[in-house]
């Protein structure tokens, strides 16, 4: 089983591409891989309970580890997170890189 780190820096309210990236995370898990979705920069906007957060909560329920960069959250004044999303320091990116996990940035 491979493990993937998918880094999402874009806001789904601004870019529809983001939804394809969520699909990629879902499909990789369905194919038997481990997937961490790390939200950073404006990518954390749907981490607050909102019209777009249900998709992230659903991803979490499907087995994707959904993390949101704590610095990006703080910058944007987001303290309440939708179900299944966990705040995380950016160190986790380095953890995955050092572990040799396949890492993509969007």
């Amino acid at each position: 089983m491979a493990h993937y780190l998918l880094i999402e820096s874009r806001d789904p309210f601004e870019s529809n591409d983001v939804l394809y990236y969520y699909d990629l995370a879902r499909d990789l898990v369905a194919a038997g891989n481990g997937v961490t979705l790390f939200l950073v920069q404006n990518g954390v906007m749907p981490a607050r309970p909102s019209a777009r957060s249900a998709t992230l909560s659903e991803l979490a329920r499907s087995g994707v580890e959904v993390l949101a960069d704590d610095f990006s959250l703080e910058e944007r004044g987001i303290s309440k997170l939708a179900e299944g999303i966990v705040a995380s320091p950016i160190d986790v990116v380095v953890d995955h890189l050092a572990a040799g996990h396949k890492t993509l940035w969007h």
Partner: protein, 136 residues
């Protein structure tokens, strides 16, 4: 046990994208762990280490040079070089030569160098992992 080596490719120009803030945060964490780091700065990122960047005051906000404390990416690159060395790692920062020439930013901060996509290939071959951060 061999040392961890990571490569990050940067593409964004200075002072325009939050991508670079995030990239420097990632690099800082890795530097503090003592990892060896390679950075391939291409396209607009070739200007990150340009030595003639200068901080400026902000008269609109009534701040002098010291009060504005304007960060420059060349200083951030220099700080990263120092941080990596302080923790026992090495940072090989390569500025894409063609990108540098196009932009006229050939004066680099000490410790960085001119290179080519061949360096990125070599970095990739020699690294435990690579992260490419593209422009939006």
């Amino acid at each position: 046990m061999s040392k961890t080596t990571l490569t990050i490719a940067l593409m964004d120009p200075p002072y325009e994208s939050e991508n670079l803030t995030t990239a420097f945060r990632i690099l800082d964490v890795a530097a503090r762990r003592g990892y060896d780091l390679n950075v391939f700065a291409y396209e607009g990122a070739a200007g990150l280490a340009f030595a003639r960047q200068a901080p400026h005051p902000n008269p609109v906000h009534g701040k002098n040079l010291a009060e504005e404390n304007h960060p420059t990416t060349k200083d951030q690159v220099a700080a990263l070089l120092a941080e990596t060395e302080r923790h026992g790692g090495k940072l090989d920062w390569v500025n894409c030569g063609m990108c540098v020439d196009e932009r006229g930013v050939s004066e680099f901060v000490p410790g960085t160098r001119r290179g080519s996509p061949a360096d990125l290939h070599a970095f990739t071959e020699a690294s435990d992992n690579i992260l490419v951060i593209p422009t939006k």
